[in-house]
């Protein structure tokens, strides 16, 4: 059964908040970020991309000593997208959730997350992951796309019980 649908605007707003927050808190970008968003009417697909000229995704994650032992930039970026708790914020106990949640939104709505940042160029989608190494590009471009509406891919976990 698909989960109840959040409104389209809520999903888009949540995605934008998480992506922008990432830039403001971690990118150390000397210039403003550029946001591109498009609604593909025929495919019923939303695509949002945000690009900055900062220190790069992996470098920002390495500002947290807990990530220092992860040798590969690609592995570190993969962990930040797909696993909870990987964050560049050295303080605090609860970080590293926003991008993982955004990944889940995309994963269960026929979407994907794409990261291009310095030596990493990686795509994450249901059942598929790909990464390749590219010549160094400044900054980070994070791109997400999904079909707003009910989830189309079933989740392994059950619908949580409402507390509030």
């Amino acid at each position: 059964m698909p989960r109840t649908s959040e409104s389209v605007t809520y999903l888009v707003e949540t995605a934008l908040n998480e992506l922008l927050q990432n830039v403001v808190e971690h990118a150390e970008s000397p210039t403003d970020a550029v946001v591109l968003a498009r609604w593909y009417k025929q495919d019923k697909n939303v695509r949002i991309a945000i690009a900055d000229s900062g220190i790069g995704f992996a470098e920002s994650l390495r500002r947290n000593p807990r990530n220092a032992s992860v040798y590969s930039d690609a592995n570190l970026v993969r962990r930040a997208i797909t696993e909870e708790g990987t964050t560049g914020r050295p303080s605090g106990r609860f970080g590293g959730l926003g991008l993982k949640n955004l990944y889940q939104v995309c994963l269960h709505r026929e979407g994907s997350v794409h990261v291009s940042s310095r030596t990493v160029d990686a795509s994450f989608r249901m059942g598929k992951e790909s990464d390749l190494f590219v010549p160094e590009l400044d900054g980070t471009t994070l791109e997400v796309d999904f079909r707003p509406g009910p989830e189309t891919e079933p989740r392994a976990d059950s619908e949580p019980e409402d507390f509030f």
Binding site: Y10, T14, N17, E18, R89, G92, L102, E161, F163, F164
Partner: protein, 99 residues
């Protein structure tokens, strides 16, 4: 009953994890077993996983759910934010159980 408006606790921004930390501290300062604290979102759309998690859901990692039920009531939250918050609460409760 004591009322805490999210807008008053975090007047300038309700997006970042740091904003959420400010809200959580305000909640912990205001609540008690003697009186229910009503946390009022004022029907404003939050749409920030980080803020909702750090501000409210993270309490469920550190406190028993029954204690929170006695002390905290949420009002004026939009349906989308309520759904998001409940998912985050379930996650933090599960982590507390596993810890």
């Amino acid at each position: 009953m004591t009322r805490l408006r999210v807008q008053d606790a975090c007047p300038s921004s309700r997006v970042f994890r740091e904003d959420g930390r400010v809200l959580r501290e305000a909640i912990e300062k205001s609540w008690s077993d003697g009186e229910l604290l009503e946390l009022d979102f004022g029907e404003a759309i939050i749409a920030s996983i980080s803020f909702l998690d750090e501000g409210v859901a993270s309490l469920f990692f550190d406190y028993d759910a029954e204690l929170i039920r006695r002390r905290l009531k949420i009002v004026g939250i939009t349906e989308d934010d309520r759904r998001q918050l409940n998912a985050l609460v379930a996650k933090r409760r599960a982590q507390r159980t596993a810890a």
